[in-house]
Point group: D2
Chain length 413, copies 4
Amino acid sequence: MMTTTTMRPEVLFGVDLDKPMSQQQIVGHNRWHPDIPAIASVKPGTIFRMECKDWTDGQIKNNDSANDVRDIDLSIPHVLSGPVAVEGAEPGDVLVVDILDVAPFPGKATSWGFTGIFSHENGGGFLTDHFPDAHKAIWDLNGVVATSRHVPDVRFVGIPHPGLIGCAPSHDLLNAWNRREADLIATDPNRVPPLALPPEEKNAVMGSLKGSDMQNAAREAARTVPPREHGGNCDIKNLTRGSRVYFPVYIKGANLSLGDLHFSQGDGEITFCGAIEMAGYIDLQVGLIKNGVNTYNMLSPIFRSSPLEPRYSNFLVFEGISVDEAGKQHYMDAHIAYRNACLNAIGYLEKCGYTGEQAYIILGAAPIEGRISGIVDIPNACCSLYLPTEIFERDVEPMKHSVSQKRQVAVTS
Amino acid sequence: MMTTTTMRPEVLFGVDLDKPMSQQQIVGHNRWHPDIPAIASVKPGTIFRMECKDWTDGQIKNNDSANDVRDIDLSIPHVLSGPVAVEGAEPGDVLVVDILDVAPFPGKATSWGFTGIFSHENGGGFLTDHFPDAHKAIWDLNGVVATSRHVPDVRFVGIPHPGLIGCAPSHDLLNAWNRREADLIATDPNRVPPLALPPEEKNAVMGSLKGSDMQNAAREAARTVPPREHGGNCDIKNLTRGSRVYFPVYIKGANLSLGDLHFSQGDGEITFCGAIEMAGYIDLQVGLIKNGVNTYNMLSPIFRSSPLEPRYSNFLVFEGISVDEAGKQHYMDAHIAYRNACLNAIGYLEKCGYTGEQAYIILGAAPIEGRISGIVDIPNACCSLYLPTEIFERDVEPMKHSVSQKRQVAVTS
Amino acid sequence: MMTTTTMRPEVLFGVDLDKPMSQQQIVGHNRWHPDIPAIASVKPGTIFRMECKDWTDGQIKNNDSANDVRDIDLSIPHVLSGPVAVEGAEPGDVLVVDILDVAPFPGKATSWGFTGIFSHENGGGFLTDHFPDAHKAIWDLNGVVATSRHVPDVRFVGIPHPGLIGCAPSHDLLNAWNRREADLIATDPNRVPPLALPPEEKNAVMGSLKGSDMQNAAREAARTVPPREHGGNCDIKNLTRGSRVYFPVYIKGANLSLGDLHFSQGDGEITFCGAIEMAGYIDLQVGLIKNGVNTYNMLSPIFRSSPLEPRYSNFLVFEGISVDEAGKQHYMDAHIAYRNACLNAIGYLEKCGYTGEQAYIILGAAPIEGRISGIVDIPNACCSLYLPTEIFERDVEPMKHSVSQKRQVAVTS
Amino acid sequence: MMTTTTMRPEVLFGVDLDKPMSQQQIVGHNRWHPDIPAIASVKPGTIFRMECKDWTDGQIKNNDSANDVRDIDLSIPHVLSGPVAVEGAEPGDVLVVDILDVAPFPGKATSWGFTGIFSHENGGGFLTDHFPDAHKAIWDLNGVVATSRHVPDVRFVGIPHPGLIGCAPSHDLLNAWNRREADLIATDPNRVPPLALPPEEKNAVMGSLKGSDMQNAAREAARTVPPREHGGNCDIKNLTRGSRVYFPVYIKGANLSLGDLHFSQGDGEITFCGAIEMAGYIDLQVGLIKNGVNTYNMLSPIFRSSPLEPRYSNFLVFEGISVDEAGKQHYMDAHIAYRNACLNAIGYLEKCGYTGEQAYIILGAAPIEGRISGIVDIPNACCSLYLPTEIFERDVEPMKHSVSQKRQVAVTS
């Protein structure tokens, strides 16, 4: 008889929330580098649990001041749990990852999360010119439901996911990243905020690497902020429980790492620290498709969505085009178009009684959808933002009833 | 007793498919201008029908040659039906429009649509560097289902909608459009394709305007290609039957016009002529919210989504980042990121046996979703493309069964 | 080149709404019998249109009196369009039917439907002891949306479907039906209303059968009221546009017939004439699976649901158990349990300002779901009724906001 | 500043899985009686956790023998956690319960569940005449996903819920239950299995009641098997995380109890022990609507569905009518109709390679939907069973591809 005990999640990576990542019993990492040794190796088919600190390594506290968001040290994030090697994985294979669970740690002290608006000085968020100052909202996470003492009359079911997950790059891939990002930085090297973040030895945490190995690796290791072709910090909210992700493998063992758990997020994660950020755990099961990269033309991760997402069905949708706030026409700029859609939604929510910051936080944290609607109609891209009305415990629909009554008595001439 | 006859759709605007828009009994328009007279005026509450030619005014035929797509005269589109005035509407009001139905004309000769890949010479589509030549697919529209003799093993339920709908601009708004678009063109006036389309008197159709009034208006009237803050050519597939749209009103009477009906469309409408384009009709009911623009901060249209959309639930999702095909890093460019997501999806579908052009057409025409996933993680925007697997009558999932069997026999060490 | 014209819906069966079924150019039928000749024969793969009268053959009018419902002649329904033979179909095959479209006839005089509460004298509805008198609501059908001057503040998207569809029975199957229903009637032959309806020669319409052939067939032909193993009057709302139905074939040619079109319906169709009944058309495509009955153990129809249903997501759910209104305990009686769930919903809606009859009609006509929840917990079956709150334009949720505010200030002791 | 610590779930009721309910530190109950003292009292607004044993009090083991199911002692279930009193609750109020989380206990030894087919001797399930012998399937519960070594190629996301939850009855209500159920039993007192279960002193667990109080209460306390108007053992799968339930209050304090946690269930829970039964915990938040029973006509619980349910979209649907297996016609019997729908689905799944018992277990445990379709068309009720095809990792659709290809080459004559 087959025993079931082999199928239970084993904690491969545990964390002590009172210690920084660099002092954990098993040390994770906060840079991408192929030489960071795996913390464990598992066979295909294994189910295991990874515990994670929040992406800032505990810099943000459950209180009512945003000073911690303002003063965050950005050389520390994202602290990642892993890497986990998978037996038999080789470059060109595809690593299949079933996401089985994502949740905050249970208990009074840990079932909370935060959404931060970054201040302009440390990079800001998507709307930093409109919201230059740091703000913070603390969310209570009760089972599947999020509420916040800082955002009244909002209550929704989260869509928990890892903001950041991917396999280690090969040396070649790492070099390509560094080269292309350096080229970009070189176009405006003194820009504040910078165009991209170069490797940064300070505060690098490199797993079990030591001494000169560690220093050499840290000098060239990639920062974790951007998503890249291996996945990484994609911040795709739909990588939730029940989804299956296919990752290209670049080095022997695959070396999967992850972190930046979110209890929920709106598409775009627009406040930068924009999801409901949390510490917690994730349960995974891994498999392999040998030579899958070539079989499926898999140049970057593909995933199959989950049947278990919050399915709100009544949306108010806001549109934006690529004309900037000064009225200047830009050419097919989906970035500006989505910014306008966000600003239009915020302007609307202000009429519903929210402050701009609260509205901004709602768009970053709740399961809103951001869509590329029209992207070929020169010169304007059109993006749209889908706001589920069911997350509000106040009425946010435009004159729902009175319009309708007016329409009932109207007749044609 | 109240009679129901006042509630039936009256055809306010009819079309003869054998005649160009300029020769219809009631002439529509193909430029935006506040002076184009309304073709009818209705009271709030009225339900009415508008018939529409396809956006090209009938230039594309139901056959197997793409020459008509290649040779299209772009000074003609989009031919619009309207404007319809609403009694009592004044600048600052919000026009409420319930979309009740959108469908092709019934009958053998008319229940079809087309998807075109534009050739590079006349602007091309979103992936024109990869697909520079004109292609065309003809779709059979049978009830709610679309199939194509040019795209095998694809069968899906459409999401019919007007690609283009909005109220007439005021003179001030029109001037702002012309000024900002001229400024953009001036940055590279000889570019092919152009950055934007200036007013074009040739082939302008201006409703019932005549003589010098017509000529003067045509010289400054805005082209219909881009979406703008009044809505216009938004190509938002979710403006489907059952949705309610709120439009800002800029001139007395509101003057609502529409056209460019689509039987279905993927987000982005990426082949340019990328939806399933069709002639057909749309049924609407209108209402008014007096002074709604100010009440709701409504700087551009807002809509409430419909409960009646095709709801596929099993998606394969492709990711893209803002690194271009040459490996160059771009800064937060959602345009390039979405292009990569599209290319990744096409590369995958080629492994499923489709040609690149077929895959491109599928992404443009089927109800795929294009999402802005991460838009704050310098330097990479991350966009994602959600492809419903249920539209395929061949298996497109990566090794669904064999992976799973492998995982069942695997055990932890 | 393949021409598309072969794929367009041809009207195989047309109706003149001003004439009874017996006087149509092509006469349909209102009884089930294997000898009724097919009105046409089509090859597998054919797409065709069937026009239908409403199930009562036009006895109900668009006015504000329920006398027509009260006085209906029940020997006439259901008038069916067909039968259509499929070439090559033989007993034991499975007929595959794609439902492509279902809609009312366009135009002022025809885009309406009715919901009737039957009076106790002619059978009554599911709650006839509570609502013994005839009532009627007329619905305006505008595109995909239904509203009624008789049911205020209700507005929803319909789920159009044929209430009745199936293949002709073989002689053996017909005999089995007649035998078992006669046995049931014989247990209480004088019951009012009767337990079942025996064959009835009066008012039988038997297609093109004439003379003694017609009389002989009419004497033994089965009534159309009940659903049976061939499908028939199943009143399954989910047989809507986009679904695919698999029917067992009992005679050569299959002989598919259908009628009783509904614009919408709640599960159970509880007012008897409980859907939104309408005249209209249905577009179908047929296929064959040879010997499918045995291959798939298909003892009665199977269907694949459509991706295009109205998807309301916020439901109020009412429960019922098998204790009757007098407090008497019944054993595992899902009928009584569902009746209680319906009564509980009606009691609730009365508190929202609806009359009992209006509430009853809403449950019959709107897309509510009726579920068998617990069916093994002696002695009570438990059924539940899912009422979508989004169909109401008045607030029907219990103290949504005030409860929530109360909960926010509460603290644990 | 408001502290968040008051909002964290406190464990009001803990369980030791190695001890029977009668020996827990806080003793729950397995009968309904108003005199069972509350184990705690909370203010409205409180969030708290209740731990639960599985419904059988641990009689079923994680092994491959069904002997434990066969030999179960049915005088023990259902063991319930509670009652919890709510301050201020009085008869006629409505208790509002938000279900925040339901999950198995984490860890190797506890993250599993079972589905049992009961043998005919101890009552059997819904299809006991077809499946008279005991069977058992063990499910591995990994995060949100269930798989079973006893049911190959099935993998689905659960819909966790309490099978049993409700407020304590008043003495009057209890008496009414006992009276009506005794009346039913008296109609066939020696029936095996019995028509209903009378009060049973043996093995009664009555919370902290002692001595003669306990004995007196046990003699009249209601068994927990049936759902009743207070809710109780409703086995409604949609009472899942994110739903809000409104319960009538019958006694001071309301005294809410619950248990019988399910990781998943099909509508009807047809194998009797038909859900995925588990031990685990549930997190709740409670509120009050004073005098709500009268305000809302709330004769039995009402709930608002959750936005977080597994949303499979592709269903195969099986129909059943009220003709029994011997061909006998029954009058409007939804019980028999649903049984036929279940048998038809099982017959189909047998053709897909499952044993009858496996198919039966799938229908009981997976999130299938059971619908009352037609319930007014004499003499046949029609019920339907919606089987999501996406839960299978083998192809279960009827000739999906070959049928379709056949249709493509077919043309009309």
